[in-house]
């Protein structure tokens, strides 16, 4: 089952879906164009690109495990990655 989901995850990332696609993309703060996260300057307006990728934006919108940083759904009692008990109330992930 785990292997199947890994294969599916890899396939989806090839089509631009998933967390790996988010990590690979940055939005220019000046012209809003989508750029590769490896770039330092925007290819359209030459302004400096932020270091925070779409993945950071995604994490900032959700609650995360305090131990391993895994993004958690609202109804989770235990972290699905490291298994620690999730606190009832926890802060949003920092950027």
């Amino acid at each position: 089952m785990k292997k199947q989901t890994e294969i599916r995850k890899k396939a989806l990332s090839r089509f631009g879906f998933g967390t790996s696609a988010m990590k690979a993309l940055v939005v220019c703060e000046n012209c809003n164009s989508l750029e590769s996260s490896g770039r330092i300057y925007c290819s359209k307006c030459d302004s400096k690109l932020p270091k925070t990728s779409l993945y950071n934006l995604y994490k900032s919108q959700h609650t995360c495990c305090s131990k391993c940083g895994t993004v958690l759904s609202v109804n989770m009692r235990y972290c699905p990655h490291c298994g620690i008990r999730v606190k009832e109330k926890y802060a949003l992930c920092a950027l």
Binding site: G16, F17, L34, S73, P80, H81
Partner: protein
């Protein structure tokens, strides 16, 4: 549970006037990334022009969230449940049951201890509401 979909015909956009008409720039509703800039379009009515721009050039770059109705790029879309990643986070097969904390045995969709469905936590919440 009643799903209320906000009817949003197009993604966020900006009009850029051009000598041959208006260009439309469409933005992702979640990341605010500029996804598409159309060729100049000239129509009699502004609404007609916008919809033409959206249908011919803009729409193909976006996915619609089935929960909140936002138009988003592929990277911010959860294809497992057809929602944006804000409505349902992307999930991987868990090493521990999110409900009881037991280590999963990599056997299937359900926890071998408590019977909780192991994938799509965001959807489980909807089922409880039903």
């Amino acid at each position: 549970m009643v799903l209320v979909l906000k009817e949003k015909k197009t993604a966020n956009f900006r009009i850029v006037p051009d000598k041959n008409g208006n260009r439309y720039e469409f933005f992702c509703d979640l990341s605010y990334a500029l996804v598409c800039t159309t060729a100049p379009i000239k129509k009699d009515k502004p609404e007609e022009e916008l919809l033409f721009a959206w249908e011919t050039e803009g729409r193909q770059h976006f996915n619609k969230c089935q929960k909140c109705g936002k138009w988003i790029i592929d990277a911010m879309f959860n294809p497992d449940v057809f929602t944006c990643v804000n409505c349902t986070p992307i999930e991987e097969y868990p090493d521990y049951c999110p409900e009881c904390g037991a280590e999963t045995k990599d056997t299937g969709y359900f926890c071998h201890i408590c019977g909780t469905r192991l994938l799509y936590g965001g959807e489980m919440e909807d089922e409880k509401a039903n």
